[in-house]
Subunit: 137 residues, 4 copies
Amino acid sequence: MVHETAFPIRTFHTDSFGHVNNAKYLELLEEARWQYAEDNGLMKLLTRDNLGFIIIDMRLRFRDEVVEGDRIVVSTQLLTLGSGSGEVEQLVRKDGQRKIALKSLFHFILVDRETRTPAAIEGDIRELLLGVIAKKS
Amino acid sequence: MVHETAFPIRTFHTDSFGHVNNAKYLELLEEARWQYAEDNGLMKLLTRDNLGFIIIDMRLRFRDEVVEGDRIVVSTQLLTLGSGSGEVEQLVRKDGQRKIALKSLFHFILVDRETRTPAAIEGDIRELLLGVIAKKS
Amino acid sequence: MVHETAFPIRTFHTDSFGHVNNAKYLELLEEARWQYAEDNGLMKLLTRDNLGFIIIDMRLRFRDEVVEGDRIVVSTQLLTLGSGSGEVEQLVRKDGQRKIALKSLFHFILVDRETRTPAAIEGDIRELLLGVIAKKS
Amino acid sequence: MVHETAFPIRTFHTDSFGHVNNAKYLELLEEARWQYAEDNGLMKLLTRDNLGFIIIDMRLRFRDEVVEGDRIVVSTQLLTLGSGSGEVEQLVRKDGQRKIALKSLFHFILVDRETRTPAAIEGDIRELLLGVIAKKS
C-alpha cells in the first residue's frame, strides 16, 4: 500500500537558495509519515500502548529542486519489517510529474515512550504493518 | 544589564522572500535568551529546581529586513519583574548599526516543569533577576 | 468571512516542555494564512503581480497550552484594510472547544517582490480583500 | 583538517520524544558547515563568486539520543573532492565523550547561484579545499 500526501510549497519552506531546505524537507516527510499512520490505523495503536517509532538511519537523495509555488506529492510505503525495526521509503514528485524529485529511505525502530527502550513489533501492530507492507511482485 | 548575542544569518534562516522568516527569528531570539540565562547564572538555578520560563505574550515589530550574510546583534534585557512573571525586551540591530531592525517584548511566567503549574519567582532566583533588571535612570 | 484550517499536532511541533513551541506556532499560523489566500483567490492575484504580504508587527497571547495529539483549528480573518497595509486576526482553539488557546494579530504591508518596496493595495486585490473583510455588526 | 563546533541543546531543539528532532539536527549540522566555511576562508570566496554548495545526497545514522541540556560537538571534515562535487563527513559527540552520537555524510555539488547550474570546483576554491581535505594516513 502506497500512501500519498500532497503539500503546497510556501515561502517559509524555502531558503534563500530559493528551494526547499533539507531541514524543512524532513518535516514534510515526517508529517506524511504521520498521516500514513493515521490513515492506516497505526497511530491509534501506538497511542494506546504509548509506543513510538524513532528513526535510526536515513538516506535522502535530492534529484530535482522543489521551489515556492510547487505542489509536491509524497508517496510513503513500508518496505521491510523486522522483529523490532523496519524501513519506510518516501518518494517525492512534483504534482503531475513522473520524475522523482527526492528519494529517501528511513530505518526505524519501535520504542516504549515511557522507558525509552526498544520494543518488539508484535501483536496487532505487527499484523497491521504486515497488511500494509509493499508486496513483492 | 543588557546582554548581547551575535548571530550570522545563513541561507537556512531566510525564506524565499530573501529575509529572515518570522519563525526562524523567534528561534534566534530564544537562543539569545538562553545564552543570557546561562551567562548570568539563571540557567543553573532553573535546572536545580526543575523550573522553566514560558512565554504567555509576545509582541514583535519588524522595522528593517535582515538578509543572508547579515550579522545581527540581539540585545536582551529584563525590563519588569512581578511575583510570578516578568517582561524581557529584545532589540535586534545589524552589526555596527544603531538602527533597530526588530523590537520585541516577551511577557513570561515561571512554571514548575513537573507539575506544569505557575510558580512564584522567589528566593535566589528573584535575587538574581533583581540584580540584572534594567535600572531606571 | 472567517476561514478555518485544522492541524493535528505532532511530536515535531512540540518541544521538550511538551507544548507547541512559539516558532512552530508561527509556521502553522502562516500556513493557515496561505490556505486562506488560496481559498479566497488572493494567491492567484499575488502570483500574477509578483506581490507578497510581509508582516511588520505581530502580537500573540498564549492562553492555553497545545500539546502533541491535540487537533487545533485556526480561524483567520481580515480585520482592517488601509491603503497599503492591513490587520489579520488569527484565533486558535482546540478542536471542539470554545476556549481560545491563542489570540494573535498580524499587521502586514503589501510589497513588490521584484523591487522589494511597498505597494498600494488597489485594483482587484483591494476589491477581493474588501469582500472578505470582517463585517462590523 | 577537522573543524569542531559546539552547540548547547535547548528545549526548542528537542521534540516531545525529548530528543533532538531530525529536522533540527540538520540545521545544527548546516550551521557547523557554515562555520567551517567561514573559518577556513571558503565563505569569502563563495560570496565573491556568487557560488553555493548544495546537498544532493545525505546519510545520517543516529546512534545515541541527544537531549535538552546536552552539549554537542560537531566534527566536520571534507573527505573527498571531485571536479564538481565532494563529500563532507560530520560526526556528533556529546561533550567529553568519545562515543559517536551521530554519523553523517553529505554529498555536495557547487552551483552558480545566479544561473542555478552546476559549476566546476576550480581555481583558488579548489586549492583551498585540497588544503583542508582529510589526509589519508
